[in-house]
C-alpha cells in the first residue's frame, strides 16, 4: 500500500512549496463516436497554487466534469498532462492513479456517494483503510465529531438526511488529510439552506486544513466566494479570473 512517501517530490518541504498543487498543460479529451470523433476538452492549461480555492464554471456540456475527472486522475487525457503535487498522473495506470488519489486527493460528490452498506463511521474509515493506515477509527471518529455527527457514528446512510450525508462525505474527504480536494456540485442535491450550511463547513474545514480546493459549480454566488474562477465553454478554457 503506497503512502505519501512514495512520492518524493512531496517529501522536501522547500521543494514542495515551489511546486504548484496542480499543473495542467495542453489537456485534451476526445472520444470516438459512430458519427465521428468528438472533442470534449481541447488544449486546456493552468496552474493552481497550494491552498488556492478555485471554482470551475460553465454551461452544461462545457466539459467541467470531464476536466474534474482528468484532474483527479479518474480518467486519462487524449493529449496533454496533469501533475498533482509535481507528480505526473496522466501517464500512470489505473492502479497507479488510485494510489495517488488515496494519498493526495479527497472527493465530495453531488450525490454524496456514501456506500449504503457501511455505517457513517465505516464510510469515513474506508479511505484510510484502502490506503493501508494502521490507525483508522480514531481519526474517523474525530472527523465526524468535527462535522457535528459525533452522535451518529453507527447510522447507515439511509438513516441520515441529505445534509447529514454530505457532512459524512466531507468528513470522508478530509480524513486522509488530502493536499487537493475536488468537489463536484457539492450542494446540487440539497435545499438552499442546507447547501449554504454545507458550503460554510466545507470552506471552514478547507481553511483549517490548508487544502487546495477545486470546485465545480453552476452557482455564481458560490463561485464568487472562491479565490479564482476558471470558465469553460465548448471544451476550452475561456476565462481565468481572480475573484
Amino acid at each position: 500500500m503506497a503512502d505519501a512517501q512514495a512520492f518524493p517530490a512531496a517529501a522536501d518541504p522547500a521543494a514542495r512549496a515551489a511546486v504548484p498543487a496542480l499543473r495542467v498543460r495542453g489537456l485534451g479529451k476526445r472520444v470516438d463516436l459512430p458519427s465521428g470523433p468528438l472533442t470534449i476538452l481541447d488544449g486546456v492549461g493552468f496552474d493552481i497554487a497550494r491552498g488556492e480555492v478555485v471554482a470551475v464554471v460553465g454551461a452544461s456540456g462545457s466539459g467541467k466534469s470531464t476536466l474534474l475527472s482528468l484532474l483527479a486522475g479518474l480518467d486519462v487525457p487524449s493529449s496533454g498532462s496533469v501533475e498533482l503535487d509535481g507528480e505526473p498522473v496522466s501517464g500512470l495506470g489505473e492502479d497507479g492513479r488510485a494510489r495517488v488519489r488515496g494519498a493526495k486527493v479527497g472527493f465530495v460528490f453531488q450525490n454524496f456517494q456514501l456506500l449504503p452498506s457501511l455505517t457513517a463511521l465505516e464510510n469515513v474509515m474506508l479511505p484510510l483503510e484502502l490506503r493501508g493506515d494502521a490507525d483508522v477509527e480514531a481519526p474517523a471518529r474525530a472527523m465526524l465529531a468535527k462535522v457535528g455527527l459525533g452522535e451518529r457514528l453507527h447510522h447507515y446512510p439511509r438513516q441520515l438526511s441529505g445534509g447529514e450525508q454530505q457532512r459524512v462525505a466531507l468528513a470522508r474527504a478530509f480524513v486522509t488529510g488530502p493536499s487537493l480536494l475536488f468537489a463536484d456540485e457539492p450542494t446540487g442535491n440539497l435545499d438552499t439552506r442546507t447547501g449554504q450550511a454545507i458550503i460554510e463547513l466545507l470552506f471552514a474545514m478547507n481553511a483549517d486544513a490548508g487544502t487546495t480546493l477545486v470546485l465545480v459549480t453552476h452557482d455564481h454566488h458560490l463561485a464568487s466566494r472562491c479565490h479564482r474562477t476558471l470558465r469553460l465553454d465548448g471544451g476550452r478554457l475561456v476565462a481565468d479570473g481572480r475573484g
Binding site: S65, D75, G102, P116, L126, E129, L130, V136
Partner: protein, 841 residues
C-alpha cells in the same frame, strides 16, 4: 404486426445490452431439465413397449409355481397352436474342480424342445461365430450367458457343474429371445435341455421351481387359449400376453420417470426464482423508456404488446434452444444406455418437446410477466419526476401467478393433485428452512464484519445489506448443493456404515435347499469348518386357502387399502406359495407386538405372523388360517403377531408355526452362517459335498445393491446438477439486479484510492461468504436429513461428517466465486469516471 416489430427490435436491443440474458438462460435451463428427463423416460418406455414383443418367447405364456395341468394344459393342445415349456430355478453354477473351482449362484433355465416359439437365441458356438440357434441345447450340454461365462472364467468345451451333474459348455448366449430389461440382474444364466433337469438332483422337496407354458399360433387360436387360461387360472398362476408383459417393469419405469420429472421440477422452481428476479430488473430498466412512450402518446395496450411480445419471442427462442440442448443430451445418454444394456432404444416422441415448451412458457408467464405487465401503469409524469415509478406489481398478484403456475406444472408432472400439493409444500418448506438457516448465518456475518477492515468489510457488508437477495441466493444454491451432497457423500457414507455394521455379526452366507436327510451332515460340515454351529430352519411351501373358514381369493385384495402397490403385494401373497417355518423361541430380531408367543410345544398347532404381513392380508389374532401344503391341508389359529428386523440378515419368516406343527409335511431347510473372511473355499467345498445346495453370498448381494444404488444415483445426480446450475442463475440474477449499485460503489471506491486488487478482494469476500453460507446451509440440511435416514432407516447412530461440511463449503465457495466474479467483472473494468458520470445522475 407493428407492435410485434417493435417487440422484436426491443428484444434485439436488450439481448445485445445483456439485460435479459439471465432470464433467457434461466428459461433455457428449466426447459432443458424437464425436457431431457422427458426424452429419456419416453424413450425408455418405448424401448419397453418394443421389448414386450420379444419378452415372451411366444404369443402368450402362463407362469406358474407348479406344472401347468388341467384345462389350461388341454387348451394348449389346440391343433392351431404350437406349445413348449420351460422350468427355472436358482442354482449354483460351478466351473472347474478342487481349489480352482469358480462358483456363482445363477439362474438355471431348462428348455423343452421348440423353445422359443418366437424369436431365437443368439449364440456363439465353438467356431466363434455369432448366429441364431436352431435348437435347444443337446442333452448333456449346456449354454451360459456370455456375461456369466466371463464371471465364471468358463470357456466353450469346459465342464460346468449343475447340482450333482456335469455338462459340457457348448455355446455362449449373446441375446435371449425373451430377455426382459432387467437392468441390474447380473447373475450368470445357464440353459440346458429339460430332459437333463431330473439328473441334476435339484428338483427335490421344497425346491422353488418356476414353470412357464408358452404357446404361439394364429391370433384366433391364441385368443381362445388366453380366454380359457384366464378363466381357469389357479393359485400362483399368471398369464402374460404381448399387451400386458412385465407390469412390474412398466410400473417401476413409470415411478422412476415420475420421480425424475419431479426432481427436474426442483430446477424449474429455482429457475423460476431467477426468472422473477431478472424480469423485475428488466422492468426497472424499462421504466424511463415506458414513461417516455406514454408521454409520446403510447397507449397501455401498445406498451403491453411490446413488452409481452418481447417476452413471448424470448420465451419461444429459449424453449427452442432448451429443447435442442435436451435432445442432444438425451441422445448421448440414450446411446450410452443402449450400449450398456445391449438393447435397441427407439427415438423419442414429440411429447417431451411440447412439454418443454409448455413448462418454459408457463414459467415465463407466471414469473416473468407480472413485473413486465406493471410497466403499463407507469405514469407519464415520471419523465419529470424520477421518484415516481408506479410499476411495482402487486406482491399478491406475483405470488398468486407464480404459485398457480408452479402448482399447475407440478400437478401435470406428478399426475395427482395430492402429490403435487405435497411436492410444492415440500419444496416450499425446504426452501423456507434453508432461508431461515441462511438468515441466521447472515446475522452472524453482520456481527463478524465489524472485526474486519476495508475491502473485506465492504464485501461482507454487502452480504448483510442485501439480506433478502443474499437469502435467496444462499437458499437456492444451498438446495442444489444439499441434493448433491445427499446423493454422493451421504449415500456412500451411509452404505459404508451400514455394511460395516452388518459385517460385525451378521451372517454372510445363506444356505438353502438343504434336504431333511442333509440337516445333520450339513450342520456337522459347517461345525467342522470352525464356523459357529448353525440353526437350520425348515421351510415348508404352502399356499393360503381359507381364513376363518372363508376361501381366500387374490382378487379380494384389489383396491382394499387404496395403496395400489400394497394391494398388489397382498394379492400376490394370497395367490402364490410362500414359506412356513417352525421355531421354539424368538431371536432378538423378532419382537412380539400382540398376543403371546408359545413357550414349549402347545397342545394344538399355533401360528405367529409378522405384523406387516398380517396387516396387508387383514389378519388378526384368533383368526384360523388354512393352508394347502403339497395337497395336504394344514390349519391353525394366529396366537401372536411379531415385528421383524429384516435388516438383521438372519433367516426370517412371515409365518411361523409352533414346534412340531409342520412335522411330516415336505420341507427343505435354510440356514445362515458367518464364514470368516479368510475362508475363500467354504462355498466351493460345501457345494462339492452337497451338490444340490444353493449358497447365497450376501457380500455379493450387497455389492449388487451398491452398484444399483450407484447407477440410479448417477442419473438422479445429473438432474440435481441442473438444480445447482439454477441456483447459480439465481445468484447471477441477484448480482445483475444490483449491478448499477455495484458499479457506482466500485467507482466511488476507485475514486477514494481503492486499487483493482482491493476491489477484487471485496468481491471475493462477498461471494466467498455467500458460497460458504450456501455450503453451510446445505451441509446443515443434508446432515439433518442423513441423520433422520441413518437413525430411522438404517438404525445407525447420527454422526456429524466434517468431511461433508468441508466438501459442501468448498463446492459452494468455488461455484459462487466463479459465478460472482464473472458477473461482477465489469465493476473492475469500468473506468471510474465513466461509471460515476453515467450512474450518479
Amino acid at each position: 404486426m407493428r407492435t410485434l416489430t417493435l417487440a422484436w427490435r426491443q428484444l434485439r436491443r436488450d439481448l445485445a445490452a445483456g439485460d435479459i440474458r439471465i432470464l433467457f438462460a434461466a428459461l433455457v435451463l428449466a426447459v432443458v431439465a424437464v425436457t431431457s428427463v422427458g426424452f429419456v423416460t419416453d424413450r425408455a418406455a418405448r424401448a419397453l413397449a418394443m421389448e414386450a414383443n420379444r419378452l415372451l418367447g411366444g404369443d402368450a405364456l402362463v407362469r406358474s409355481d407348479a406344472p401347468v395341468a388341467g384345462p389350461i394344459d388341454e387348451a394348449a393342445n389346440d391343433p392351431a397352436l404350437r406349445r413348449t415349456r420351460t422350468v427355472e430355478l436358482d442354482s449354483m453354477i460351478r466351473v472347474g474342480n478342487g481349489a480352482d473351482a469358480q462358483l456363482r449362484l445363477g439362474d438355471l433355465r431348462a428348455l423343452d424342445a421348440g423353445f422359443p416359439l418366437r424369436g431365437a437365441f443368439r449364440i456363439v458356438g465353438r467356431d466363434g461365430v455369432e448366429r441364431d440357434a436352431a435348437t435347444i441345447p443337446a442333452p448333456g450340454t449346456l449354454w451360459l450367458s456370455r456375461a456369466g461365462a466371463d464371471a465364471l472364467g468358463a470357456r466353450i468345451g469346459d465342464r460346468v457343474g449343475i447340482g450333482s451333474r456335469e455338462f459340457e459348455l457348448a455355446a455362449l448366449v449373446v441375446q435371449e429371445p425373451d430377455a426382459s430389461i432387467d437392468y441390474f440382474n447380473v447373475a450368470p444364466k445357464a440353459f440346458l435341455n429339460l430332459a437333463d433337469l431330473p439328473s441334476t438332483g435339484l428338483v427335490q422337496e421344497g425346491s422353488r421351481l418356476r414353470y412357464r407354458l408358452v404357446v404361439a399360433g394364429d391370433a384366433a387360436a391364441v385368443e381362445r387359449f388366453t380366454a380359457v387360461a384366464r378363466d381357469n387360472l389357479g393359485r400362483g398362476q399368471r398369464i402374460e400376453t404381448i399387451g400386458d408383459a412385465r407390469p412390474e417393469v412398466r410400473s417401476a419405469l413409470d415411478r422412476g420417470g415420475r420421480f425424475l420429472g419431479l426432481a427436474a421440477l426442483v430446477s424449474v422452481v429455482l429457475a423460476a426464482v431467477a426468472v422473477a428476479m431478472a424480469a423485475r430488473r428488466h422492468s426497472e430498466r424499462h421504466l424511463s423508456g415506458a414513461a417516455v412512450m406514454r408521454c409520446l402518446g403510447a397507449q397501455q395496450r401498445t406498451l403491453v404488446g411490446i413488452h409481452v411480445g418481447e417476452l413471448l419471442l424470448l420465451g419461444l427462442a429459449a424453449c427452442t434452444l432448451g429443447v435442442a440442448i435436451a435432445f442432444a443430451l438425451q441422445w448421448s445418454v440414450a446411446g450410452w444406455l443402449a450400449q450398456a444394456l445391449k438393447v435397441e432404444i427407439p427415438p423419442a416422441g414429440i411429447w417431451p418437446a411440447l412439454r418443454g415448451y409448455g413448462v418454459g412458457l408457463v414459467v415465463l408467464l407466471a414469473f416473468g410477466a407480472p413485473p413486465v405487465l406493471a410497466l403499463r401503469r407507469v405514469p407519464a409524469l415520471r419523465v419529470l419526476r424520477r421518484d415516481l415509478d408506479g410499476s411495482e406489481p402487486s406482491a399478491w398478484a406475483v405470488a398468486l401467478a407464480g404459485m398457480g403456475g408452479l402448482a399447475a406444472l407440478l400437478w401435470w408432472q406428478a399426475g395427482s393433485a395430492t402429490l403435487a400439493v405435497a411436492m410444492l409444500a415440500g419444496i416450499a418448506l425446504t426452501l423456507a428452512a434453508l432461508a431461515l438457516i441462511a438468515w441466521l448465518l447472515i446475522l452472524v456475518v453482520r456481527r463478524l464484519r465489524a472485526r474486519l477492515r476495508g475491502a473485506l468489510r465492504y464485501g461482507l457488508a454487502n452480504v448483510s445489506r442485501r439480506a433478502g437477495a443474499s437469502i435467496a441466493q444462499v437458499s437456492a444454491l444451498g438446495l442444489g448443493l444439499m441434493a448433491l451432497l445427499l446423493l454422493t457423500f451421504v449415500r456412500t457414507d451411509l452404505l459404508d456404515r451400514w455394511q460395516l455394521a452388518l459385517g460385525q455379526d451378521a451372517p454372510n452366507r445363506f444356505i438353502i435347499n438343504v434336504q431333511s436327510d442333509q440337516v445333520d451332515p450339513v450342520r456337522e460340515f459347517i461345525a467342522a469348518r470352525g464356523v459357529a454351529e448353525p440353526v437350520l430352519f425348515p421351510m415348508v411351501r404352502a399356499r393360503l386357502v381359507e381364513r376363518n373358514g372363508e376361501p381366500v381369493r387374490g382378487e379380494d385384495y384389489v383396491g382394499r387399502t387404496g395403496d395400489e402397490q400394497e394391494d398388489r403385494q397382498s394379492q400376490r401373497r394370497a395367490e402364490r406359495e410362500f414359506n412356513l417355518s417352525m421355531a421354539d423361541a424368538l431371536r432378538d430380531d423378532n419382537k412380539v407386538t400382540a398376543g403371546r408367543f408359545w413357550t414349549g410345544p402347545p397342545a394344538a398347532p399355533e401360528l405367529s405372523v409378522e405384523e406387516g404381513f398380517a396387516q396387508g392380508l387383514g389378519w388378526k389374532i384368533g383368526d384360523r388360517i388354512a393352508f394347502d401344503i403339497a395337497g395336504q391341508s394344514f390349519e391353525a389359529p394366529i396366537t401372536s403377531l411379531r415385528s421383524v428386523e429384516w435388516e438383521s440378515f438372519q433367516p426370517n419368516f412371515f409365518v411361523l408355526a409352533s414346534p412340531g406343527a409342520l412335522d411330516g409335511y415336505p420341507a427343505s431347510h435354510i440356514t445362515a452362517v458367518q464364514v470368516p473372511a479368510g475362508d475363500a473355499r467354504f462355498t466351493a467345498e460345501l457345494v462339492q459335498a452337497f451338490p444340490n445346495l444353493s449358497v447365497i453370498d450376501i457380500d455379493a448381494v450387497l455389492a449388487q445393491v451398491r452398484a444399483t444404488a450407484d447407477q440410479v444415483s448417477t442419473v438422479v445426480q445429473v438432474v440435481f446438477w441442473f438444480s445447482l446450475l439454477a441456483g447459480v442463475l439465481v445468484l447471477l440474477a441477484a448480482v445483475s439486479a444490483s449491478q448499477d449499485e455495484r458499479l457506482l460503489e466500485g467507482g466511488v471506491m476507485r475514486a477514494l484510492g481503492g486499487s483493482r486488487g482491493q476491489l477484487r478482494m471485496a468481491q471475493v469476500s462477498e461471494f466467498a461468504a455467500i458460497g460458504l453460507l450456501a455450503g453451510l446451509v446445505a451441509t446443515v440440511a443434508a446432515s439433518v436429513l442423513s441423520g433422520v435416514v441413518a437413525t430411522r432407516v438404517f438404525d445407525l447412530p447420527w454422526r456429524q461428517d466434517w468431511m461433508l461440511a468441508a466438501v459442501g463449503c468448498a463446492i459452494g465457495v468455488a461455484v459462487t466465486l466463479a459465478a460472482g466474479l464473472f458477473a461482477t467483472r465489469r465493476v473492475l473494468d469500468a473506468p471510474p469516471s465513466a461509471t460515476l458520470r453515467e450512474l450518479q445522475g
